[in-house]
Symmetry: C2
Subunit: 341 residues, 2 copies
DNA sequence: CTGAAAGCGCTTACAG
DNA sequence: CTGAAAGCGCTTACAG
């Protein structure tokens, strides 16, 4: 049988309260007592039971990271592959903090509704807090949970709603920035392959009064399946007034695009400039040519998200409103040509 | 305050033992009693505390999946990216079973030694069992832990040691199979880019008496960094007696290779045949041309690993030896040409 | 700085 | 089929 805190207390000649204090450094203990306790713990090779600690303190010291790689996600079929870098970076960011603070990380891939997830993880006390990314839950249920001030952080932004703890990466804004970057390089005809509809972006840009879009010829291609996209790209670039710049949201589709362009006799960047996104810093380097990318600091988003969450759990936050905006940055490499020069 | 089992018992007019039996279906309860209990639980919106359940039963119902994406891993720098599909598929496989059986999954990315990991997760009762993949731990410490019959499953195989619970994917064997596949297609000069040394494979093949290697000209290129590998590939394929077939372990390097070959005036598969690995079924389809790949069933390895583990935890296994071998399969697509025809 | 003791909310032999 | 009660191994006011 494993040793318990009683065994340690007996061997050290102190009470269990004292042993607990030594372990948790929660109250001052005299140096000599502490030494005795530590010696006893060592001698017995004592390992406190996390189960008992959790029960007694009503804390699991475990955080849940909810990410959806499910078929039922609102993202296209290939999301599992497309988003794997995102997941890894988010995990690594969250994990980096978690470990330092002696917390633990549970990954959750649930398809139930938000209320049930909250009930089975938070109410059940299995988790102290949760982080949501790419969840299939609808906004109204998210708002409900936020209204209850449950210990959760979400990645994203709910338009016209400023409650809750969240991390936001200026999603639509950096797509706009990319377009403007290309425009500044003299590109007027730009094709964009994204996971969302044209309206998703354009309406957002217009409603927030973004300038400089009128003299541009933007072609939006919705990313669905591979066959479809190849076909669409081909027919678009076969035209005489074909785009001179190409933005693909999915970095994994970039090299494929280059091969297809090459097949069509188009060279990158001489004939077509390419911009994409990277979630892992430097990912664009492993291409030929090296890709000019917007780096979305997902690792950092993970760090920010847990930090907010742990601060809230530890009562270090005043109130339940906290938004951290991270800034994606455009990294110029070799895949975009300047038409002005 | 949350409702407890006492509240439910009181409202239903039964003992807490009975409530517990209804919840856990651990012993028979009369239908009428059961109905009363369920009604009371519903009325109170009762959620049992996982913390208390865990403490009382001495089980966390949580499994740990140990995977290393750390800088300190024995794998090259870019492993984080390279292995992300592996990670996701392993997670999905493990998770698929975990959820059905009401277990939970903790992801662990530790760099401490195995003994400490076992102590802080298993001894501490934070986890009921663990699965190890791509760990930096040395074999002798792994053997020590296995000798103690701790509840853990590892992915891999320890040569000349047949104890423990593990899942193996015939690592060196399927590399041999790839070579033979290419040989059958008439390829004699084959380049292989892998994460290990030539010796790692060749010695294994020779020691297990694999035939048919003598008349082959195999060039092994060790995968280190991107720049280096591009250079090596270029100089190798510039030779007149250049390889006719090219195997890259990392699927993410495939399209890049195609671009480089294309730059050199070499077409795939006409001038160079390509084979790679995929961990996500169908990953080779998203290429141009579609890549002939060995599919390593990582999802299934995850499923097998948890299954073995849970069976062991639930006492359904006789003894502590269990090896499940999964079979990678070669999926022919469009990237390999048959030189015989 | 330290100890006695209650309490956390379940599970599980044991008895009936 | 059901209940009374011990027990799981910690933490934490409270008192000194």
């Amino acid at each position: 049988m494993e040793n318990t805190i009683y065994d340690v207390a007996r061997l050290a000649g102190v009470s269990t309260a004292t042993v607990s204090r030594v372990m948790n450094k929660t109250e001052a203990v005299s140096p000599s007592t502490e030494a005795k306790v530590i010696e006893a713990m060592d001698k017995l090779n004592y390992t406190p039971s996390a189960l008992a600690q959790g029960f007694a303190s009503n804390k699991s010291r475990t955080i849940g990271l909810v990410m959806n790689f499910a078929q039922d996600s609102p993202f296209p079929e290939s999301t599992v592959q497309t988003m794997s870098d995102f997941f890894i970076e988010m995990f690594r960011g969250v994990n980096s903090i978690i470990r330092k603070k002696d917390y633990y990380l549970m990954i959750i891939n649930e398809e139930k509704d938000l209320q049930k997830v909250v009930k089975s993880f938070l109410d059940k006390r299995r988790l102290d807090g949760m982080i949501f990314t790419f969840t299939p839950f609808n906004i109204s249920s998210l708002k409900e949970v936020i209204a209850k001030e449950r210990p959760l952080v979400y990645v994203g932004n709910i338009k016209g709603y400023n409650r809750g703890l969240h991390v936001y990466s200026r999603y639509t804004e950096y797509f706009y920035d990319i377009v403007m970057f290309l425009k500044n390089k003299g590109h007027k005809r730009i094709a964009l392959v994204t996971a969302r509809d044209e309206d998703f972006f354009v309406e957002d840009w217009k409603s927030s009064g973004k300038p400089g879009l009128n003299d541009l010829d933007l072609s939006f291609l919705k990313y669905s399946n591979m066959e479809k996209i190849i076909e669409d790209v081909k027919s678009l670039f076969l035209r005489v007034d074909r785009p001179t710049a190409f933005f693909v949201q999915d970095l994994k589709a970039v090299q494929l695009s280059i091969s297809i362009f090459s097949e069509m006799g188009l060279r990158v960047p001489e004939d077509v400039s390419i911009v994409s996104l990277e979630y892992t810093k430097g990912a664009g380097e492993s291409f030929f040519p090296k890709i000019t990318n917007v780096y979305v600091p997902v690792y950092d988003m993970g760090v920010q998200a847990v930090t907010i969450l742990l601060n809230y759990l530890e009562g270090k936050t005043k109130g339940y409103n906290k938004l951290v905006e991270v800034e994606p940055v455009l990294i110029e490499r070799d895949s975009v040509i300047d038409l002005n020069t």
